[in-house]
């Protein structure tokens, strides 16, 4: 890897990547991107540029290609109507074909508790959850399975699960509750009294 002259063609061949060549590199997307505010290393305009210039190593090994949450804030402002989230998905698809996967956590399913209702799969904005039949405690059973590649740890599934079978690492219920309690510190009432 390093430079791949036809990287642009590869991205454009993926569904959603067709508009890559229409980008003017004006920077509207980067400026409005909420992820960019949280992590300035993420520059969607630059990623598109790397794809156009065939810089495959710099692009595909960048951890930031997995960041886009498809909020489409940029899409509504783009002067060329480029749907950046689709192009990001196309770039990720090219990376996956080369065996590159994101180095990050994803939502975890406790298969013993999972009732297989499928509500999480329905609600996931990234189609990261699918129901699969698995062997759990010696029994065949339908359980939710999370694709580590697609999951962006938004936590919608964890909040929605009626069996409390899903959790998001580093944003587990217990951790969040401790944080909520921390906010209560300094109040006059004793915290324990209300919990």
């Amino acid at each position: 890897m390093g430079k791949t002259p036809d990287l642009m063609a590869q991205v454009m061949a993926e569904p959603g990547g067709e508009q890559l060549h229409t980008c003017l590199s004006c920077g509207t997307c980067t400026a409005v991107c909420p992820i960019q505010w949280w992590n300035p290393a993420y520059n969607p305009r630059r990623l598109l540029r790397l794809a156009v210039m065939g810089q495959s190593k710099a692009l595909l090994t960048s951890p930031t290609i997995w960041f886009c949450s498809a909020c489409d804030q940029c899409y509504h402002r783009c002067p060329r109507g480029v749907r950046l989230s689709d192009i990001m998905a196309a770039i990720r698809a090219v990376a996956l074909r080369l065996g590159i996967e994101p180095d990050r956590d994803s939502a975890l399913v406790n298969e013993r508790i999972c009732a297989g209702c499928g509500q999480c799969a329905e609600l996931c904005p990234y189609q990261a959850i699918a129901l699969q039949v698995r062997r759990v405690l010696g029994k065949q059973k339908k359980v939710a399975t999370v694709s580590a590649v697609r999951c962006l740890q938004c936590g919608i599934c964890a909040a929605a699960c009626r069996s409390n079978a899903i959790t998001v690492p580093s944003f587990a219920d217990g951790e969040l509750l401790r944080q909520v309690r921390a906010c209560e510190v300094g109040r006059l009432e004793p915290v324990e009294a209300r919990l």
């Binding site: 920077g27 509207t28 400026a31 300035p40 305009r45 060329r80």
Partner: protein
């Protein structure tokens, strides 16, 4: 303007609307309605006493609505003629102006619209453009945040004759700003609004920045841009000067503008793409360089003048390079930004060009036209027999055909450009084209297909493109087989389906129909008519039993000699791959249908004689022997 008003041969009708345009080059008849001013122009001396006493104040359109005007006013200080007019939408009939006018007695509240009927030789359209309202672009906050202005508003503020006598101030508090951000490409180069570049905003923004920086050197000016476009003489040098003065240029399109609710300062959020970092710039005033767009009423005027408009609403010139000020309607010319956004030097140049193009017509008593115009035989036209038709008029790209129920279609030779679309489209063969009559074309097909037609490719070409392409192939020595026989007409629109039928009836092995690419057609819509016609024809021929590879439609430009040679090579290969006996058999099988399609052709003057003069070649053993 003042010079124009004093010129003995110039009449200014204002405020006026063009209501109807009839006639043709050299003989236009224009109906104009002069709207009432409610002030008698001959008596008004422009003293302004009436405006002083008028109690009504409304937004002043000339001042970009940031200053008031009275209900009786002149459009602006330099208006010609300098005659006051009452805005009846706002007048409350208090008659204070009548009193103030006094002895001059210039105010006439009963004035009626005046109708003018003008006979003119040429028309120049110079109706200008509109400025886009940026309020729909919510991300920039125009209309919500007081300190977000448009370029035109800044222009009026900085004008010494403007509402603030040249002081640029913040609308929120009336204070002079210490910092200013200018945002380029607002609505231009934006697929959501206008994809085109408005062209002049870069320069007027730099001009405003330089002027403000000259007056107030400590003013902090930032220009956000996608690309700075300085293509004309001296422009790049001016841009350089602006940079040297310390004006900050940031390449990056702002994504959002937000406001501090207390100070009304603005925060411009953009990525500075040269460092790849998002910046948030706090500034006291933001000016948006809004797009130029076609006037909202350009459609109405286009309809009255029968001139075409492009997808953006601007009037279309005859040819973008070679006839940039002419319209497809002979005698109607374009000047300025109604044809497309342009800056002052370009608009002045185009105005001068349009005036001299018009003068060319006015200075002669007669107009030379191409001899290849169309002619409708009154006795053959079914409209003359009271039947409804008018197909020819709908196909004419130049509105040169007048069809009135009860009388025959009338083609105005001065407006006709000679494409021949009407000739080919007339279902009753009632129209002919001089020098390209059906008889002449039959004679050519007859001569070209006289010997061994089953081994030949009958190629119909248009004068401007595909014939040029064939010529280019020859002069560039691109080799192609000698089996093609070319027949030139002015436009692919003239290529009647009957010509193709006739070629097959005479035993042609292959037929090629070629013309310009759609965007290159020299007769605006000629190629489109042809494309539709031949799409249908391909199906008809297939149903008749003619193999699909024997009829081909190709659009070849005058520069595509390579393509012409390739098409002929491919067709020749396909022809050689076919058995001549099969071609003969197909032609024989289709014969009855071909004859039936062409049965009424001999009624057309000259056709019967030509068909007799060029009998069909005898096919048969000779053809198969040659293989």
């Amino acid at each position: 303007m003042v010079d124009a008003s004093r010129h003995p041969k110039v009449t200014i009708l204002a405020p006026a609307t063009v209501q109807k345009v009839e006639g043709y080059i050299g003989n236009f008849h224009v109906s104009v309605e002069e709207q009432p001013r409610y002030v008698i122009a001959e008596r008004c001396n422009g003293c302004g006493a009436c405006a002083k006493v008028c109690p009504i104040e409304v937004p002043n359109e000339f001042e970009a609505n940031i200053a008031p005007r009275k209900a009786i006013d002149v459009p602006h200080g330099q208006a010609v003629p300098l005659v006051y007019a009452i805005d009846m939408d706002h007048c409350i009939h208090c008659y204070q102006c009548v009193e103030a006018c006094g002895k001059l007695d210039a105010i006439d509240l009963a004035q009626k619209p005046k109708q003018h009927e003008l006979d003119v030789g040429a028309v120049v359209v110079a109706t200008g453009f509109d400025v886009m309202d940026p309020s729909p672009m919510a991300e920039y906050g125009y209309g919500r945040y007081p300190n977000v202005l448009t370029g035109l508003e800044l222009e009026r503020l900085s004008n010494s004759a403007g509402p603030t006598a040249g002081a640029v101030v913040r609308p929120s508090d009336g204070q002079a700003p210490h910092s200013l951000a200018l945002v380029q490409c607002v609505g231009s180069r934006d697929a959501r609004y206008h994809l085109y570049c408005s062209g002049f905003c870069c320069m007027y923004t730099i001009k405003n920045a330089v002027a403000l920086k000259t007056n107030q050197p400590d003013l902090d000016i930032t220009i956000f841009y996608m690309d700075i476009r300085t293509p004309s003489k001296g422009y790049e040098e001016f841009y350089q000067r602006a940079r040297e003065m310390g004006i900050r240029f940031v390449q990056g399109r702002p994504a959002a503008i937000s406001e501090d609710p207390v100070t009304h300062n603005l925060r411009v959020l953009a990525e500075d793409i040269s460092i790849g970092q998002t910046i948030e710039l706090e500034t006291e005033l933001v000016v948006l360089s809004t797009a130029a767009e076609a006037r909202s009423d350009s459609g109405q005027l286009a309809e009255r003048l029968t001139i075409p408009r492009d997808t953006n609403g601007f009037f279309t010139e005859y040819h973008p390079k070679l006839r940039p000020v002419d319209t497809p309607i002979e005698g109607v010319f374009l000047a300025g930004a109604d044809q497309g956004p342009k800056d002052i030097p370009a608009a002045v140049a185009q105005g001068s060009a349009a005036a001299s193009r018009a003068a060319r017509i006015l200075s002669t008593d007669s107009q030379l036209i191409e001899p290849t115009v169309a002619y409708a035989w009154p006795e053959r036209c079914i409209s003359a027999q009271g039947k409804k038709c008018g197909i020819c008029a709908t196909k004419c790209p130049y509105k040169a055909i007048i069809v009135e129920p009860g009388s025959a279609a009338q083609i105005v030779p001065a407006s006709c450009h000679g494409c021949g679309a009407c000739v080919a489209e007339c279902p009753h063969n009632a129209i002919t084209q001089f020098h390209f009559t059906d008889a002449q074309i039959i004679a050519q097909i007859g001569a070209l297909m006289a010997v061994q037609p089953e081994r030949k490719i009958m190629a119909f070409m248009c004068h401007w493109c595909s014939y040029g392409g064939a010529d280019n192939a020859g002069s560039s020595h691109f080799q192609y087989p000698a089996s093609s026989r070319g027949l030139r007409v002015m436009c692919s629109a003239r290529m009647d389906s009957d010509f193709v039928f006739e070629a097959f009836r005479r035993g042609a092995g292959m037929v090629l129909v070629s013309g310009c690419h759609p965007q290159d057609c020299h007769y605006i819509t000629g190629q489109q008519h042809a494309a539709r016609r031949f799409e249908r024809l391909a199906g008809t021929l297939e149903k008749m039993g003619i193999s699909p590879q024997r009829f081909r439609v190709e659009w070849i430009s005058a520069a595509e000699g390579q393509k012409y040679a390739r098409v002929i090579r491919e067709m020749d290969e396909a022809l050689r791959a076919m058995d001549p006996a099969q071609i003969a058999a197909e032609n024989q099988a289709a014969r009855a249908q071909l004859d039936s399609r062409l049965r009424r052709w001999p009624d057309v003057p000259g056709v019967a004689e030509t068909l007799r003069e060029y009998p069909e070649p005898t096919l048969g053993p000779l053809a198969s022997l040659a293989r």
